[in-house]
């Protein structure tokens, strides 16, 4: 299955003027691995949320799994969501939950209510959670509480949930921000391995440009809501990167779409 964005513009409900994404034209084929790079505020998180059907485009046309999700009913659209997995930058794990339960929550789209309830009391498949955690070197934390983990451990825990899910489209937002360089490289390799093994499409936003260049066959450069370049990583020159990050702030900051409320906006409060 492929993704196609055609002349898509996205605006945040609360933002006064600037659009978050402007005139995006993008096609991603099945099984591709794409890295999203660009300075803070460029719109990377917004793009990932748009691809995840979490943000309706203001203008333009989005096609995923062969259908226009925003032309479908809300229920049909929700069925589409089972086939994708969005891993936000802030690990979405409740503080008092145990790691095993938090990781197994990746199976919720496939579980019936009864299975979900049972797994709360007694985890349904701790072995699978154990193996997923082991791939990020977290196997010892299986029965720990989430709030006893460090920031980097929580981030990898969120990625372990990705391994448990059965999605065909993996959308990952800044998975390496709390990891040291060695751990970052190893984590990235695990992600890529998994995507390849499932023949899943992987779109991953990164600040570590060199890692992106080294590991991803395709790079998408975003700046101020527009695509600056979309090229094979061999063809991306240092000059292009310098131009992309020109005048950018040195330390990355969280982007305009707050991680704590990826679906928020001027929401109705009834």
């Amino acid at each position: 299955m492929s993704l196609a964005l055609h002349q898509v513009s996205v605006r945040h409900a609360r933002a006064a003027s600037a659009a978050a994404l402007l005139d995006i034209d993008l096609k991603i084929g099945p099984g591709e691995q794409v890295a999203l790079i660009g300075p803070s505020g460029a719109g990377k998180t917004t793009l990932l949320h748009t691809l995840a059907c979490s943000h309706m485009p203001q203008t333009g046309h989005y096609e995923i799994f062969g259908a226009d999700p925003w032309a479908l009913s809300s229920a049909a659209r929700h069925l589409l969501r089972k086939r994708l997995f969005l891993a936000p930058q802030t690990p979405p794990l409740p503080a008092h939950q145990r790691v095993v339960t938090a990781v197994l929550a990746g199976r919720l789209p496939q579980w019936s209510l009864w299975q979900a309830l049972r797994s709360l009391i007694k985890p349904a498949d701790p072995r699978a959670a154990f193996e997923a955690l082991a791939r990020f070197d977290l196997q010892g934390k299986l029965y720990e509480r989430v709030d006893r983990l460090s920031g980097g451990e929580r981030q990898r825990c969120g990625l372990a949930r990705l391994l448990i899910s059965r999605a065909e489209l993996l959308l990952v937002d800044e998975p390496l921000s709390a990891l040291d360089p060695t751990l970052a490289r190893l984590t990235l390799q695990t992600l890529l391995q998994e995507a390849r093994a499932r023949s899943a499409t992987l779109v991953c936003s990164l600040h570590q440009v060199e890692l992106a260049r080294a590991h991803f066959p395709r790079l998408l450069g975003l700046r101020d809501g527009r695509i600056v370049f979309d090229a094979r990583s061999e063809e991306v020159s240092d000059a292009m990167l310098a131009e992309l990050y020109r005048n950018a702030r040195p330390t990355p900051e969280p982007e305009a779409l707050p991680a704590g409320a990826p679906l928020a906006g001027a929401g109705l409060h009834l």
């Binding site: 994708l84 979405p92 409740p94 789209p109 709360l120």
Partner: protein, 277 residues
């Protein structure tokens, strides 16, 4: 420079104070009239004698075995009314909470607009919660005693109705104000509403939800004693009977039992909140 003939400026607050004082006095008169405030009736020879006799009979408090047995039964009945009422209230409140909260809306994801049917359902649920909460539980108890007669059924139903409104409202508020990131992500990744609730919302909010429920249970115990005075069973009804018979020793004993019951409920509530929350 001031000369001795210059007078200091007048006190700016004086007129206001005078006016406020006069207004207060003017309002006091109708208040006293309207509430038939006649403290001298307390000193009226007959009622004073009756009151003194009643107070004198307080001591010693009734302590015959038969009476203590009845008091214990009535106390258990009060606790049972409160517990049964709360259980029914929970059954009613949980679905209403799930309906009323906006965090579990599937149609809202990405569009920030709920489907109109969902929006209407949520608003209706919220209104229903308000109605249930507004009628005082004592009024419900009065009505239910009329329908079902004297006894605990009226108390259980009154608590169940009013408290389900209260619980539903506060639960919804607790859920709306807790961290929604985990839930939102689960829904974005295709989990169903109940799954997202169990794995995202509940772990975040459980402590506060449990704590408030236990606090309300404690209130329900006090409320069920009060409702007994209109015939809804338990310690309150027993106390009302003793009061009508001017049996001061029984009233005194039951007041002591009541204070102990409240203290015990307070202790149990603190202990449970420490363990479960």
């Amino acid at each position: 420079m001031t000369t001795p003939s210059d007078k200091p400026p007048a006190d700016p607050a004086w007129h206001g104070r005078l006016a406020a004082g006069l207004l207060g006095l003017a309002l006091l008169w109708p208040l006293l009239l309207g509430s038939e405030f006649k403290p001298w009736t307390l000193l009226d020879a007959q009622s004073l004698a009756a009151a003194m006799r009643f107070l004198a009979s307080f001591l010693p408090p009734a302590h015959s075995t038969e009476f203590l047995r009845q008091a214990a039964e009535a106390t258990w009945q009060t606790v049972a009314i409160a517990t049964a009422g709360m259980s029914l209230a929970l059954l009613g409140a949980i679905p209403m909470t799930l309906l009323a909260t906006t965090r579990l809306s599937l149609s809202r994801v990405g569009t920030n607009r709920m489907g109109w049917a969902a929006a209407v359902l949520r608003q209706l649920t919220r209104w229903k919660l308000v109605v249930l909460r507004s009628v005082p539980e004592l009024v419900w108890a009065l009505l239910f005693v009329r329908i079902f007669g004297l006894g605990p059924a009226a108390g259980v139903l009154a608590i169940a109705l009013t408290y389900s409104g209260m619980l539903g409202k506060v639960y919804a508020e607790i859920l709306e104000s807790s961290d929604g990131h985990a839930t939102a992500t689960l829904i974005a990744n295709g989990s169903g509403r109940l799954g997202a609730f169990l794995y995202g919302m509940l772990p975040e909010a459980a402590a506060e939800l449990v704590s408030y429920t236990i606090y309300r249970w404690e209130c329900a115990i006090r409320g069920s004693v009060v409702m007994g005075f209109v015939g809804a069973g338990g310690l309150g009804q027993r106390m009302d009977e003793s009061l009508k018979m001017l049996a001061g020793d029984e009233v005194c004993a039951m007041l002591i039992v009541f204070v102990l019951l409240v203290a015990a409920a307070d202790f149990v509530s603190k202990m449970l909140r420490g363990r479960l929350a």
